[in-house]
Amino acid sequence: MNPTTVARSLFLALAVGLALVLQTSVLPHLAWHGVGPDVVLVVVVAAGLARGAHVGMVLGFGAGLLLDLAPPADHVAGRWALALMLVGYVAGRVRQDAPAGVAGSLAAVAACSFLGTSVFALTGLVLQDQAATVPELLQVVLVGVVWDLALAPFVLPSVAWVLTRLQPEGLRPAPVAR
């Protein structure tokens, strides 16, 4: 494991931790009917878009696990881990299939937000861990997508910028319109 990988992993772990605190303690003040932005999910998407499916998936699993265990979570653990793992994988694949521009990145965030919250909701239905009905679930999921889209322009460029800065000078990719 070279120093660049270590530095990047540390940065991503720190970003997820910060995102968790923001999501549970700061942003609920802005929430609309209790639905706020999923900062952790957007960070995972940003990492997936910048670093590919492998990094996205591993980070997604770790971040989801943290979200499952950190207070005030009380759902069956493993649900966010599964959802965010898929999110990280999909975000990483988007990056490989086409170089994502601004519109592409936003579309990826919207798709991943929808996917992540839906998978979380569906596992809840399967495990009988929640009593919400499908229309309620859909309402929450869609409001969540709007929030995450609003958050993405702040999170995606900063995560991508730091990850590029952590790369040795010679190995940086040629600046493309991203």
Partner: protein, 316 residues
């Protein structure tokens, strides 16, 4: 005949035997199949472990100990911004908070004493006990520092008091409006509270005017529209609109929900023929969208690292 064919296949076969995908075909950054399977299995086993009991409680506690201080710090930073300017002067602020809590406790006891529940109960017990002192409980003040998002489809919050403040699981949490919920689990400095509007929450309730018993279940509806369903044990009784519902439960604080805490009022009544019971919808007194200062009911004389509001209104 089979020689050349086998010769071509062999390298691939052996590569697969070692669990490796042919690397030259793999795009960079794409996870190996083994990793995908491993992570999926990890998710599944987590769900099974957690679904079958409290196997993950130690892990939750460890994460809580680590995250709790960060949440408290973040909450402390954001609080002035969200409009509580009193935070700027800490001492004044704390004094103000204590005064507010004293007032809250006094209000609470006054409200409980004057509730129809108490009048009915006093009549029933014919002065055997003085109910007001029974209902007086020591409170540990706490603030909400973390709120679970609706995306989790659960209604839980984190408060900034934990086992060091004398909090333990199953204690009742209330504020000056009424019942908030109960403590699910604690760390040293934080506690997770299950709100009564959570679909998993069941509270023993009593219609104050008629003393009828029932069960209050959360509906998990989002935002301001948080409602509870009340199902009465005696199906012949029809609760009236605007009836107050209070908790029944223990007075010693041993089981969740101490008795006589106001929960909400009846807003509508349905009779369900199929289930042969009356179902009333309760509007809780507490505004769950704007929870801030709460009190945790603890047995009188509990050791705590912060001031405890005693039953007689004194601070200790």
């Amino acid at each position: 005949m089979s020689g050349p064919g086998r010769g071509r296949r062999l390298p691939l076969m052996s590569a697969r035997d070692y669990g490796r995908a042919p690397r030259e075909d793999r795009e960079p950054g794409r996870p190996s199949r083994a990793l995908v399977v491993a992570l999926l299995l990890a998710c599944a086993s987590l769900m099974v472990l957690d679904g079958s009991g409290g196997a993950l409680d130690p892990a939750r506690r460890v994460v809580g100990e680590a995250v709790g201080p960060a949440q408290a710090a973040a909450d402390g930073m954001i609080r002035p911004v969200v409009g509580l300017s009193e935070r700027f002067e800490t001492q004044d602020h704390l004094r103000g908070e204590l005064a507010a809590l004293e007032a809250e406790n006094a209000d609470l006891r006054a409200a409980v004493r004057t509730a129809p529940y108490d009048r009915a109960r006093l009549a029933e017990l014919e002065g055997l006990t003085s109910a007001a002192t029974d209902l007086g409980q020591a409170l540990v003040p706490a603030r909400v520092i973390g709120v679970g998002p609706s995306q989790s489809f659960r209604s839980t919050v984190t408060i900034d008091a934990g086992s060091q403040s004398g909090i333990r699981p199953d204690l009742t949490v209330l504020n000056n409006d009424g019942l908030v919920g109960r403590v699910l689990r604690v760390t040293a400095t934080t506690a997770t509270v299950l709100l009564i509007v959570d679909p998993d929450s069941t509270v023993g309730g009593r219609v104050a005017a008629s003393m009828e018993l029932g069960f209050l279940k959360g509906r998990g509806v989002l935002g301001d529209a948080g409602r509870l369903d009340l199902e009465l044990v005696d199906e012949t009784v029809v609760p009236r609109k605007h009836d107050t519902v209070v908790t029944w439960g223990s007075t010693d604080g041993a089981s969740p929900y101490v008795a006589g805490v106001p929960v909400g009022e009846v807003v509508s009544v349905y009779s369900s023929l199929r289930e042969s019971s009356q179902r009333a919808v309760i509007d809780p007194y507490v505004d769950f969208a704007a929870l801030d200062v709460v009190g945790v009911v603890v047995p009188s004389g509990t050791r705590s690292d912060r001031a405890v509001v005693e039953a007689d209104g004194s601070l200790r």
